[in-house]
Each structure stands twice: as structure tokens, then as C-alpha cells.
């Protein structure tokens, strides 16, 4: 996206920086720390030291290592779930918005049905049925994002469908799928990018909430929500167990939200000038 650097407001740049730093830390950080699963009961609940920068947890595992590995899970859940939501949601929304008719009515009422339930409830139900595991968590959190994207795609497609260039393409003999792919989708991209960025943050939060409730991932896995849950009992004895995972969630979600907001205002400014972001 050329020119994005200049278009993005300062807060958006900060958000982008946070996200990049996080990606780097999640990818390479764990190579420089002790193993996140190595326990040493004799050194449990220790404060920060040269060997353990953030100290150790209740069974003597390195807290920093766990937070860094946890970043992988959080980003994986956030991005994976959003990706799932975009692919499924936009397909349903764009196709039903373009072709209309009974399929549109049925698909959109079904999306409404999904929207009726709070996201966390949907995720809990899915895991109750499908069982634990990272893949299921991503699916469960992603399912909640499907109607969000479907709605957006459907309404936008609806309004684009009547535009002259679409009518012209159809008159020239382009198939419905081709029109959707090469004319409708690019027009959606602006708002999709913005919405997706914000949905990543929401998905990370819901993922963390699930494991805080003890659902989805094994407690051995250093997911931030699960770390908060098990550290909760030690809040008066050893505050780092709660504060650091909490900060990690906060910074990540804040960073992604800042980026999403920045993208939105950049997109708004461009639209005001009549330029497409993509």
C-alpha cells in the first residue's frame, strides 16, 4: 500500500509498530529464553533475575518465555479467527448480496441468528460440541466473526451491484463469479481491511477469555488468558503472574485497535479525495 506511511496518523503508526514488534518477539523471542515448558519446582514464584527476566511462575517456569510463546497463540488465534471470518463471511455476504433472492434472505437471517448470541457464548457452545484444541478455538472464535463480515459484504455488494460499471460488465458477458472477484471484492477491500484489523483485537480478547475460563486450550499451554487464570490465586503473593500477562493482552489489543483506527481514518481521508486505499 504505497503512501500508507504518510496517510496513517501517528497513533496508527504506533499501533503498527507495536504489532510488528510483537510479531518479531513472538517469532524469535522464544529462541533466547529458557524453554516455556521447563518446570523447576525448587525455583517457583521467584522475582526477576538474570536467568529469568520476569521471574518464574507457580511451578517454576520462566514467565517471559511463557509470555512470548503466548504471543504466538494469541496472534494465531486473533489472525486465524479473523481470516476464517473474512473468508466465510465475505463469501456468504458478497454472493448473497449480488445474486439476492431467497438465498440472500435465508443466508442473512441465519447470520442474524448468529449475531443474536454474544460472541463468547457462541465460542463456548462450539467448543462444548467440537472439543478442545487450538484448531477448534480458532474455529469457535472465527465463527463469531462470520456474520460481522457477511453483513458488511452484503450491504456493500448490494449498493455496488447497481453501479454502471457492473451493469456494463454484465452486459459484456462477464459471469457472476468473475464480476464478484474482479469488480466487487476490490471495492470492498477498504472497509474490509479496517474491520478485519479491529476484529483481530476482538478475537484475541475472546480467545483469552475462553482460556481464562479454562476452556479450549490445555492449561500447560502458555496462553495469556490461561496464565491470568492460574495466576489469579497468587495475586497478593506474587503479582507478576497476573500483571505481565494482563499487560501483554492490553498492549496487543491496544496496538491492533490503534492500527485499525488509523487505517480507518486513512481510508476516510482517501475516500474524501476519491482515491481507493488499494
Amino acid at each position: 500500500m504505497p503512501g500508507l506511511r504518510t496517510e496513517l496518523p501517528l497513533t496508527g503508526k504506533i499501533g503498527l509498530g507495536v504489532l510488528l514488534a510483537l510479531l518479531l518477539a513472538a517469532t524469535f523471542g522464544p529462541y533466547f529464553t529458557p524453554d516455556a515448558y521447563d518446570q523447576n519446582l525448587a525455583r517457583s514464584l521467584e522475582g526477576p533475575s538474570a536467568a529469568h527476566w520476569l521471574g518464574t511462575d507457580q511451578i517454576g517456569r520462566d514467565l517471559l518465555a511463557r509470555i512470548l510463546v503466548g504471543a504466538r497463540y494469541s496472534l494465531l488465534i486473533g489472525i486465524g479467527a479473523t481470516f476464517f471470518g473474512v473468508v466465510i463471511g465475505v463469501s456468504i455476504g458478497a454472493v448473497s448480496g449480488y445474486f439476492g433472492g431467497i438465498f440472500e434472505a435465508a443466508a442473512m437471517r441465519f447470520m442474524d441468528l448468529l449475531m443474536v448470541f454474544p460472541g463468547i457464548l457462541i465460542a463456548l457452545m462450539v467448543i462444548a460440541v467440537a472439543g478442545d484444541g487450538l484448531g477448534n478455538v480458532i474455529f469457535a472464535v472465527g465463527l463469531r466473526a462470520v456474520p460481522v463480515f457477511a453483513r458488511l459484504a452484503q450491504t456493500s455488494t448490494h449498493s455496488i451491484r447497481a453501479r454502471e460499471y457492473i451493469v456494463a460488465a454484465r452486459a459484456a458477458g462477464a459471469s457472476g463469479i468473475r464480476i464478484l472477484w474482479s469488480h466487487v471484492l476490490p471495492a470492498l477491500l477498504n472497509s474490509l481491511v479496517v474491520l478485519a484489523a479491529l476484529q483481530v483485537a476482538t478475537s484475541i480478547l475472546i480467545g483469552a477469555t475462553l482460556s481464562f475460563l479454562g476452556v479450549g486450550l490445555s492449561p500447560e499451554m502458555p496462553e495469556w488468558g490461561a496464565m491470568l487464570n492460574s495466576g489469579r490465586r497468587y495475586i497478593f503473593q506474587h503479582w507478576p503472574l497476573v500483571v505481565f500477562p494482563g499487560l501483554a493482552i492490553m498492549i496487543t489489543v491496544l496496538g491492533i485497535n490503534l492500527l485499525g483506527d488509523g487505517l480507518r481514518s486513512a481510508a476516510d481521508r482517501r475516500r474524501d479525495r476519491g482515491v481507493a486505499l488499494a
Binding site: 518446570q39 519446582l41 514464584l45 507457580q58 511451578i59 479454562g214 492449561p219 492460574s230 490465586r233 497468587y234
Partner: protein, 500 residues
């Protein structure tokens, strides 16, 4: 302006009234961690349920502080010389909360109801072959074999007497509106919040100390701790070691209960734990002492037998001392095809259970196993997973609610129950079966003790469990409570005196 002042004065006055109204000293507020579906004695699922029931129900026998059965409503016990016939005479004059008399018919009704409804506790009376009502206050029980533990069975909270009239009238609703003959009578049950019981002034011995007891359900341990520290409650059950220290620092009393025997049952029907060497390796691989010290922060003592100290006949047989070298050697010798262990753990059922399970999993990995740790938070879901028997280890805590070893041993190790509750580990040892049957049917205490000692030794060597610890739990109590008794096994208290 004037109005504003008026409002603030009114607010201040309101606040003052709230602050100065004394809490009704006659009521006692007890905080329990978990709610339960029913107060019907047919099925008891938790110590919290037992605690509430203990205040509402009365029984023929009750337990003293050492879990020995002592007479409660019973006036005279007369056992035939062959040990098969028990002529039990009740005290006269006791009544149920609805005014109907507590008589021999009610005893018969209770036992037959238990058998007809078929809950898991019907084993308590499995030995009884005949029940005869001789007269209004005498009931004669006949057992097929000598059954010395019958006293314990009749003292068990599940043997609570209930008003036949009320039970017939209420039908399915009886469990949420129990009518018995204990020192307190049921008043109301606010689902998800609390159960209130009132003093039974018609109690056959001295009535309860408090006009009312409120059992309030507060699942979160920190909330229980703070309510206790702020004086919003008089008794709070099951605090952890850290919470107990802070409550104690506030000048409140802490009662520690040597509670359940916590262990992991090993599956004899699933490789690699079908091999005794693997089972022993697992026992040597885990450092119980360090787990107690670091994870439980001292709240426990190493487990030394399949029977715990609150049970009659307990012998401290020994411990598998942490020896990673020996564990590795045993594992190498056994050389099982699969070294993967499926470990099931509950969460927040026992003190720090899932933390302990993570530590155990770490130790087992060090010894050369692959561990598939599955933590299941809700208890019903956990038991479902256990019932599928796709585990090598699952965590369980056993209290021993009758005080007699017979019930515990029979339900955990009898080969007839292999694959069922509570022998999901499918332990199947015919020689143990025979010994248990022998010990369970003799009145000769010395002989029983000898057999139980032998059973404990053999089971220890066969390593049917990963032996862990006897967990300590803490109850906070303020000075409003004068009388409080503790039953170690089921881990609960009651606040009325024992019969003299």
C-alpha cells in the same frame, strides 16, 4: 441548593442506620464454595451438601470427632451372638420437623427408600437382608453375613431419617424441601445463592445455638476470604494456604482439616499402566514432597496408604520416595511399546488440583514419558471423561465418609466393580477381593486390623495409584462460633454439640 442538602442528609441518615443496625447476633452465616442439586439423602455428591444435611437430618448413630460411630437417636443396641441380627431400640419422644414421630417405621422407610431409589450410596445397606418393625420403637435388622460396619453405615450422612409423610406428600420435590429431625429445620433455598435453616426448638436434645443459619454459596475463594475479613460472614470453608494466612493475620481463627487422600488412579486396562513396573516408575518419578512444599505451600502431608488416617485400620505403609534414577531404570526394564500417558485432571475441585497436575506432568516427562494432560473444569464433564476410561491416570480425592475401611476398599478395589464407579482403573486382584470380604464380615477387631494391614501393604506394592498427599484445607471462623466440630474425612463442620 436546599433540596440538595436534604438529599445528602437523607443519604447520611440512611447510611448511619445501615451502619448502626446490629447484625442479628442470633443468625450465623456460613460460606460454602459450591451448590448442589438436592438435599435428598439418597445421593450425596459433595462435602458442602453433607454439611447442610448434617444440620437438618438426624440419624440412629452419629460420628464422634474421631469418626467412630456413637448412638444418636438410638437408645439400645442388641446384636445377636452370630452377629447377624441387630435389635435397635430408638429413643422415645423425638419428632420430625412436621410433627410426626420418629419411630421404627421411619427407620425401615429410610432403608427401603434408599434401596428403591438406587443411588450410589445404597451399598451402605447392601448387607441387610431383612427389616422388621417389632414395635413402635424397635426395629430388627438382619444381615446376610456378619456386617460390623453397619454402625458406620447408619451414622453416615446418607442414612439421615426423613419424615415418611412429608416424603410421600412432596414426591419429587422432597429433595429441595427436606423434612427430618435434626437440630435445624429447612426454611428456604434460594437457588444459586443460599439455603436458610431455622432452629428446631422441638429437637429431642438441647436445641441449636443459633436462631438461624444461612449457608451462602460463594464459589470464588478470594470473595470468601474478603467477606470473612470484612465481617460479612462467620465461617468460611475451604480457603487456600495463602488466604488462610491473610485471614489469620486479621485475628480470625483458622481450623485446618486434614482432608482427603488425593491420588491419581492408574488404569490397569490401558497400556502402559497395565505393567506394574510402569506404575511403580510413575510413583518414583514424581516428587511429592516438593509439590506439597512449593505448589501446595505446605498444605498437605504425603500419602502413606490407600486408607487414610481418619479411617479405622489405617497403617502408614510407606511412600515411594522421589528417585528419578529408579523411575528411569524401571521404565527401561519394562520397555513398554507406548510411553504416552493420558492424564485427566479436574480444575478447582480440590485445592490447586490443576496446578498439581501440571507439576506431575512435568515430572513424568522428565522420567521419559509423553504426557497428554487434559484438564476438565466442570465436574460432571470430568466424570464423564473418566467413565470413558480412556486414561492412564486420573485425579481423585477420597474422604472415607463412613469412617470404616470396608466401604472405601470395596468400592475402589473390588474386581466386581472393575471399570465402574469407583474402580474405573479396573484393579482386579482376586486375593484382595477375598481378604476384603473376610475383613468385612468379622467382628473380631484384631483379626480385621491384621487383614486390613495386609491389604494396605499389598496394594501399596502393586501401585494402583500414583500416591500423592493428604491435602489440608482451611476454614476461617470468627468468635461468634462457640461450638464447632470437624469431620476430617468428608471435610466439613457442624455447629451443634455431640450427643452426651
Amino acid at each position: 441548593m436546599k433540596r440538595k442538602r436534604l438529599v445528602s442528609t437523607a443519604l447520611m441518615l440512611g447510611l448511619l442506620t445501615i451502619l448502626t443496625t446490629p447484625l442479628r447476633a442470633e443468625s450465623l452465616r456460613i460460606l460454602l464454595p459450591s451448590e448442589f442439586p438436592t438435599l435428598d439423602p439418597v445421593e450425596i455428591l459433595s462435602g458442602d451438601q453433607t454439611m447442610v444435611m448434617y444440620h437438618i437430618y438426624c440419624r440412629l448413630y452419629t460420628f464422634d470427632d474421631k469418626m467412630n460411630p456413637v448412638p444418636e437417636l438410638l437408645e439400645k443396641e442388641d446384636i445377636s451372638s452370630d452377629g447377624l441380627t441387630w435389635r435397635l431400640t430408638l429413643r422415645k419422644g423425638a419428632t420430625f420437623h412436621d410433627g410426626t414421630p420418629v419411630n421404627a417405621e421411619a427407620v425401615k422407610y429410610m432403608i427401603e427408600r434408599m434401596r428403591a431409589k438406587g443411588g450410589s450410596q445404597r451399598v451402605l445397606f447392601a448387607a441387610i437382608s431383612d427389616i422388621k418393625v417389632e414395635n413402635d420403637s424397635t426395629v430388627v435388622l438382619t444381615t446376610a453375613r456378619p456386617f460390623p460396619a453397619l454402625r458406620n453405615s447408619l451414622a453416615h450422612p446418607n442414612a439421615g431419617l426423613l419424615s415418611p409423610k412429608a416424603d410421600k406428600e412432596l414426591g419429587d420435590r422432597y429433595g429441595v424441601r427436606p423434612v427430618s429431625c435434626g437440630p435445624y429445620k429447612f426454611k428456604e433455598w434460594e437457588r444459586g445463592s443460599r439455603i436458610v435453616v431455622d432452629r428446631n426448638s422441638a429437637f429431642y436434645r438441647e436445641p441449636g445455638e443459633f436462631e438461624q443459619i444461612i449457608f451462602q454459596f460463594v464459589p470464588d475463594v478470594a470473595t470468601r476470604q474478603f467477606m470473612m475479613m470484612r465481617g460479612e460472614a462467620d465461617v468460611a470453608l475451604r480457603l487456600g494456604p495463602a488466604e488462610a494466612r491473610q485471614v489469620k493475620a486479621k485475628g480470625l481463627e483458622i481450623i485446618s482439616i486434614n482432608g482427603r487422600n488425593i491420588f491419581y488412579s492408574l488404569n490397569y486396562a490401558k497400556a502402559p499402566t497395565d505393567d506394574i513396573r510402569v506404575r511403580q516408575a510413575i510413583n518414583y518419578a514424581v516428587d511429592k514432597e516438593t509439590i506439597i512444599e512449593r505448589v501446595l505451600q505446605g498444605a498437605g502431608t504425603p500419602s502413606r496408604s490407600v486408607l487414610e488416617a481418619m479411617l479405622w485400620g489405617h497403617v502408614p505403609v510407606g511412600t515411594y520416595k522421589y528417585d528419578p534414577g529408579k523411575a528411569k531404570a524401571l521404565l527401561k526394564e519394562a520397555d513398554p511399546k507406548s510411553r504416552t500417558l493420558v492424564l485427566l485432571s479436574p480444575d478447582n475441585r480440590y485445592l490447586l488440583d490443576s496446578q498439581v497436575s501440571q507439576a506431575v506432568s512435568g515430572y513424568l516427562k522428565e522420567a521419559g514419558f509423553q504426557v497428554d494432560l487434559r484438564v476438565i473444569g466442570d465436574w460432571a464433564g470430568y466424570l464423564d471423561a473418566v467413565k470413558r476410561r480412556d486414561f492412564n491416570l486420573y485425579m481423585l480425592g477420597w474422604g472415607g465418609s463412613t469412617g470404616d475401611p470396608d466401604q472405601v476398599l470395596q468400592s475402589v478395589f473390588n474386581s466386581k466393580r472393575a471399570g465402574q464407579a469407583w474402580n474405573y482403573g479396573s484393579v482386579s486382584k482376586p486375593e484382595i477381593d477375598k481378604m476384603m470380604d473376610e475383613a468385612g464380615t468379622t467382628f473380631d477387631d484384631a483379626k480385621r486390623r491384621a487383614i486390613y494391614t495386609d491389604i494396605q501393604r499389598r496394594l501399596f506394592d502393586d501401585a494402583p495409584w500414583l500416591f500423592m498427599y493428604r491435602g489440608t484445607t482451611f476454614t476461617a471462623v470468627n468468635n461468634k462460633v462457640k461450638t464447632i466440630h470437624t469431620l476430617d474425612g468428608p471435610e466439613f463442620h457442624y455447629v451443634f454439640p455431640l450427643p452426651k
